[in-house]
Symmetry: C2
Subunit: 253 residues, 2 copies
């Protein structure tokens, strides 16, 4: 553990600066059953014992925030590598969000395809996917201020789809235009014209890359399979470039 020298030399103040426990929380979003889902764990200890909460935990000394978020996600879901796009969402606190005292949390946003989580029972915490609307509209209450963090995360996800290629990170490695459209419809809660969406998605240079393969076995004409173009692939934890120019507009409610 790194020893800080603040207790001896204080440049900004004459008193010793306060120290706070710092946690990272991860809002993992995916699209399943035509709806946005969020990964939640069941708390087994106080406070908020029995309540659902976002996965997360304390930052360790000598650790970066994004690293801590990836580590906590791995520990609580069993995934070995970050399965999608992980970025920082924002910080909350430290005042008044934990009954035990001042705790600062740095929330992160993970956009990923529907990945299987650790089976319940193999660990102290049950992790599972829940439809987002059950939390934000239904009466499902979360621990701490996690409902507010989730609401902010959902709003961020919605706006990200407009100007960044991140809609594709909800899909598998290879996907059809219809599957990609289903993601946008689920996240925005609207219907999009299949024909216009197809033209916009395939016509945006640097967004989709044709694999040459097609689907088979489904009803109707086979669909071409695409993957995210290399230029649009998000670097881990780093800012996403806006390749959708002009943006894919979200229709007004």
């Amino acid at each position: 553990m790194t020893i800080n020298a603040y207790d001896e030399s204080m440049p900004e103040s004459r008193t010793v600066p306060a120290r706070f426990p710092v946690t990272v929380d991860v809002v993992a979003l995916t699209v399943a059953d035509d709806a946005m889902n969020v990964l939640l764990i069941t708390r087994l200890l106080e406070p908020f014992r029995g309540r659902l909460a976002l996965p997360g935990g304390f930052v360790l000394p000598g650790e970066d925030l994004i690293t801590a978020a990836a580590r906590e996600l791995a520990e609580e879901t069993g995934v070995e590598h970050v399965p999608g796009h992980l970025e920082q969402l924002g910080s909350y606190g430290p005042k008044g969000r934990d009954p035990r005292g001042d705790v600062l949390t740095v929330a992160h946003l993970l956009l990923a395809p529907n990945f299987p989580v650790l089976s319940a029972g193999s660990d102290a915490k049950h992790a599972a996917w829940y439809p987002v609307h059950q939390v934000l509209d239904g009466g499902l209450r979360l621990a701490f201020d996690h409902e507010r963090i989730l609401a902010d995360a959902v709003e961020r996800a919605k706006s990200k789809l407009e100007y960044s290629p991140l809609g594709a990170v909800f899909c598998d490695k290879e996907f059809t235009v219809a599957q990609l459209r289903a993601v946008y419809e689920a996240v925005w809660g609207t219907r999009l014209d299949p024909r216009n969406f197809h033209r916009k998605a395939t016509g945006t240079s640097g967004f989709l890359e044709d694999t040459g393969r097609v689907t088979t076995g489904d009803a109707g004409r086979p669909a071409a399979l695409f993957r995210l173009a290399p230029a649009a692939r998000p670097a881990p934890g780093q800012p996403t470039r806006a390749v959708l120019n002009p943006p894919l507009m979200r229709p007004p409610p």
Copy 2:
């Protein structure tokens, strides 16, 4: 000071969680002399003694982040109230950004009209405005990772102008369309057609409100004075609504 109970009861871990000093930094941006300027202080103590740095300081127990940012801004510049729009930018660290140890900082972004800062000499720190390009393009080096934070803040400011009414917070209470346009030109580093900008700005409902008064004394025809419409006025610290729909597009470089 609030006493945390983590040392006795540890729900997420068997060891005592690490505690970190947490600072808030403020990237105060304004437009002056047709360029974006940033408020910097001169460090009088180690580390980085003599270097320029963003204003900021330690979060106090029982304090919120946005409150701490406003307090530090007030302490280091002498302004009594927040002179513009203040929002959270993002968190950095805690690893490897302070030679003395792990310090987490939560950076904030202030967009404000050019306000006078505390005169040097009356306080331990000199605060003054510096052109942003002197830091990002010129060789002016900042303390800690403040150059990176400034770069992120500038990028955020640029994109904010596209879809939010925040360009107006760089202006005074009442301003002309030409003054507003000068803000956009300074932030984006481009020239905008005065006629088309005028139509777009005045034609966007819920953005500008005509005061009925006009300028006088300048060369040319008097210009109408506007203020930011109530619907577009940003709530302190809270998300800004996108009233510019479709957005004011930033022309390609």
